[in-house]
């Protein structure tokens, strides 16, 4: 054949996947300049796997916007957000879909973390600033929610302290006994079914006689939930001051302690007697006064040293009274976009309004993500990364270190690993505006997307909140959802030959539907969630 007689065959020993960097002619010979709907195996390339329904019961049809792996105490389940602001809990793929566990009309997306089997859910939405830049924050006056995982509706986390709706509590003399003598203030705190202990409320006072037990009567009962569900209060605790020498009549101005034997083990008993000396009062309850009774929603949740961390709040206005976070802000400041709220260790719903926060540099950009890595807490903005370390003191005292002022992470831009819902392997994979980054304490350059840099750099920066990354560390694969106009595409990376820019192999997986969210289930099986094709409708050619 003319022209091929002297042609030397090009032997490709190692195929390296998709290349989109620079002129197509510059692509190395062992790369494709187009690699759509393919996957890699040990010695070749093949068409990607197909899809099938995950749920046995697809009705009511769910238009999926977000999926999270929700690890309960008994197994791996899913939380899915659908169009219309409903979150469903899918325990098994074969189970019928029940009623949504949460409905928030404005919810476009949500942050999530599972702690002790409970799901903490934070609705958020995307906003547009005057410069046309999109950013995400929690929703005004929409709280952080807690879901117990049992199918009952999620409710707002934390809880309000007891009040006097059903009357004032009284303290008085009970049966014969022995106590210290003198004026004491008493109050009640509620303990909820998620372990949260409220601030004291329904204060009372009594001058102890010294020769009787102390009888609390008309102890307040925890109210029913607004939707008519059972009360979140499962037991109540009586708290008391020590003897008060100088009474200034400010109930909240004194230190309160849990009374030994003062736990009322239900939400019905209204009279209880205790007998104690002031020296028995050891467990302090005063700090509860400073806790949020309603926690503002944010965009990202995570844990650090057994603490719940939530970032990207818009805040609460006076609707929530003393819990308001938007009161007294300087003119023009309408949210708390750079504040991270941090709970007490082991008490995810106990967040102090006074010192349970850390403030990232106020540069006008909102916090987007939060992640613990090797004992350090990292806060991310879209192009910035900050680190904080626990100094065994209150979070407000933690020292800030600016790690990188050019690299950050979008709200779903840190890769989750397998079906655990976590992100830590020995590294983090982070989707930055400049590329997919490997982070092991520092950001490794060049980016993992080096070979497809032109494609990555063509993604719309304003839409990076639509990027979600998941990492199948078993099979060494990464999937990434993409913003428009690539909404029907997910990036697929195979790093079985090495997690570095030269050995990673890229491909595009293209579907007929918009892929809004991905997750791994059954350890390593990719699940895609979609609200369907384009809203304008799509003509389809059925294969069968």
């Amino acid at each position: 054949m003319p022209g091929t007689r002297d042609h030397d065959p090009l032997i490709i020993e190692e195929f390296e996947g998709w290349w989109q960097r620079g002129d197509p002619d510059s692509a190395p010979s062992n790369h494709f300049i187009q690699a759509d709907n393919i996957q890699y195996f040990q010695s070749g390339i093949e068409t990607r796997y197909g899809l099938r329904n995950y749920l046995s019961d697809p009705l009511p049809t769910l238009q999926i916007l977000r999926v999270y792996n929700y690890t309960t105490q008994t197994g791996q389940t899913l939380l899915v957000l659908t169009v219309g602001g409903n979150i469903y809990h899918i325990k098994k793929s074969t189970d019928p879909i029940g009623a949504p566990i949460l409905h928030v009309e404005e919810m476009e997306d949500f942050g999530f973390v599972a702690i002790n089997g409970r799901a903490y859910i934070s609705p958020f939405k995307t906003r547009l600033d005057a410069q046309g830049d999109k950013y995400q924050l929690g929703i005004k006056n929409v709280p952080l929610y807690v879901y117990n995982g049992d199918g009952t509706p999620a409710r707002s986390a934390a809880g309000h302290p007891p009040d006097t709706t059903n009357g004032v509590m009284f303290m008085g003399a009970g049966a014969g006994g022995v106590t210290d003598v003198g004026l004491h203030f008493g109050a009640v705190v509620f303990e909820t079914n998620s372990g949260y202990i409220t601030a004291p409320g329904n204060y009372s006072q009594y001058t102890y006689l010294g020769n009787t037990k102390i009888r609390f009567t008309n102890i307040p009962i925890g109210p029913l939930e607004p939707d008519g569900g059972v009360s979140r209060v499962i037991r109540r605790h009586l708290v008391s001051t020590k003897v008060i020498i100088n009474n200034n009549f400010d109930f909240q101005g004194y230190q309160y302690f849990f009374i030994p034997g003062g736990t009322v083990p239900d939400n019905t008993t209204q009279a209880w007697e205790v007998e104690y000396f002031d020296s028995d009062l050891i467990s302090d309850a005063s700090h509860l006064i400073d806790n949020f009774s309603v926690i503002p929603s944010g965009v990202a949740l995570n844990t650090y040293h057994s603490r719940l961390v939530i970032v990207g709040e818009l805040g609460l206005d006076s609707t929530f009274g003393s819990d308001a976070t938007l009161v007294g802000l300087p003119a023009g400041i309408t949210d708390n976009r750079s504040i991270a709220r941090v709970s007490f260790p082991g008490e995810p719903e106990s967040i102090s309004k006074i010192d349970g926060l850390i403030v990232a540099p106020l540069d006008g950009h909102a916090l987007t993500n939060v992640q613990e890595f090797r004992d350090v807490l990292y806060l991310f903005k879209s192009t910035r990364t900050f680190s904080f370390s626990d100094n065994n003191d209150e979070p407000v005292t933690w020292q800030e270190e600016v790690l990188d002022q050019g690299i950050g992470a979008p709200v779903h831009g840190i890769a989750t690993v397998l079906d655990t819902g976590g992100v830590n392997t020995d590294f983090l994979v982070i989707a930055d505006l400049s590329g997919l980054m490997l982070f092991n304490g520092v950001f490794a350059l060049p980016e993992l997307t080096f070979k497809i840099e032109d494609f990555w750099r063509g993604l719309t920066h304003n839409e990076f909140h639509k990027i979600q990354v998941t990492n199948d560390s078993l099979n060494k694969k990464i999937w990434i959802t993409l913003p428009e106009p690539h909404r029907k595409t997910i990036l697929h990376a195979d790093y079985s030959d090495g997690l570095n820019p030269s050995k990673i192999k890229w491909a595009r997986w293209i579907f007929d539907v918009n892929v809004f969210t991905i997750a791994l289930v059954q350890f390593d099986r990719l699940l895609i969630g979609t609200p369907g094709p384009d809203v304008t409708g799509v003509e389809f050619q059925e294969l069968l």
Binding site: E13, I45, T47, R52, N53, P60, D512, T530, T536
Partner: protein, 442 residues
Amino acid sequence: MAVNTSATQSALYLSNDRPESSPTLKFNEFGLGFGHTTIIWCRMTSNIGAQILTHSTTSGALTYFSSDGYNWALILRDHFGLSQTHYLGPITLNRWTAIAYTMQDGGSHKVYIGEETNPTLLVQLALVLNVTNSFLLGAHSVIHPIGTPNNSICNFKHFNQALTLAQIQIHANTWLADGDQSAGLPVANWASPLRVPGDLSSIAIRSGLGNWTHNYGYDVIQSPENFLFDGNEPGYLANQRCAAWLYPVGTGTLTIANQPYIFVRAVPGSTPNVPTFYDGTVFYRMEDRGALPDVPYVTHAYVARPFLDGSAGTPPSEYWALFTDPNGNRISDTTNPIYRLDDDGVSAIPFTTTIQTIYAWKYGAQFKYAGTPTITTAAHGVVVQLALSISYIGKPTGIRQFPIVDLSGLFIIDETGPRIDQYNGITLKIPDPTIRTAYIGE
């Protein structure tokens, strides 16, 4: 050419040649059955029998066109239950057939049938029945074309006067947008809204109108592109879908053969001495496999005609629409008259419904029984012939589209199955893989 902008196009839904239900028209004001002419186009797609068109009367008598899957028939049934069946001719599957008939109460019935021959030829109607019988059918109150999974219906027209064959021929082959108003021709008192702008949902008091053709929702029509069908060619139907209605999911539950078509039924057993609501026992979802584009709704309505189930006893005093939204929440408002079904069997759909979610809603009814001093046996309340009526901005695309919800949900990579994408039973090929299989180094 000037272009019509944002015309209010209306349709009683597109369902991929498979309309399932159809409009219910009431003619209380002008009566029916004394030399009135009806024209309807129908196409059978299988040999499964179907009822095509029903006239019912206030006395309980019925007149309906049906097929047993192989032949067309006209069935007359008086209110004593006596019936006559007149076979009208064989059915050609997948061929559009025009049926025109004029009947007399206790008098003569004339039926013309013509079948399209190819997409460019007009139908030629021929007289297939001309009988006189002594049945006393009474004044008809309702006329109701019926679509099923096995037949399609289009271009339905009714004239409250008898037409000549020549006039019928013109009307059957004419597809003017604003009704057939050629000079000298009778004007239909109701022309199918399935192909022209304006439909039931744009008419405030449906049963109170003498002429259904003059309530279109827009005022300027300058381009034929804005019509469901353009030109004047009935053969067009062979290649273009006929507008039709949404139909209930689960076609097996759609009982076509005999009246009453019970879809939603309340069986209270007995009524207490306080006014009480009872839910209908069945809720239905509607679906559309047609080409309705994703366009804004103008109006939409839920059609469900209330009836009694024949049992003796105190009937319901009121009929109300009852919905469940995609989340399973009950949606009802028995204080808002727009949700009441009694007057004309039409209820508004809750405004939160969208074109994306409408398929996930369920449609039902509830029945109110007035309180009685002593417990009283209650008659079963039913509603029949569920349908949706939709008006929207734009025009059908003419391209088959899957409803968005058909391709939404959670889907998992199938490592063991064939290399296809399956979405809720819809199987699609994997879009254009760069390569099928290649082995490196071999």
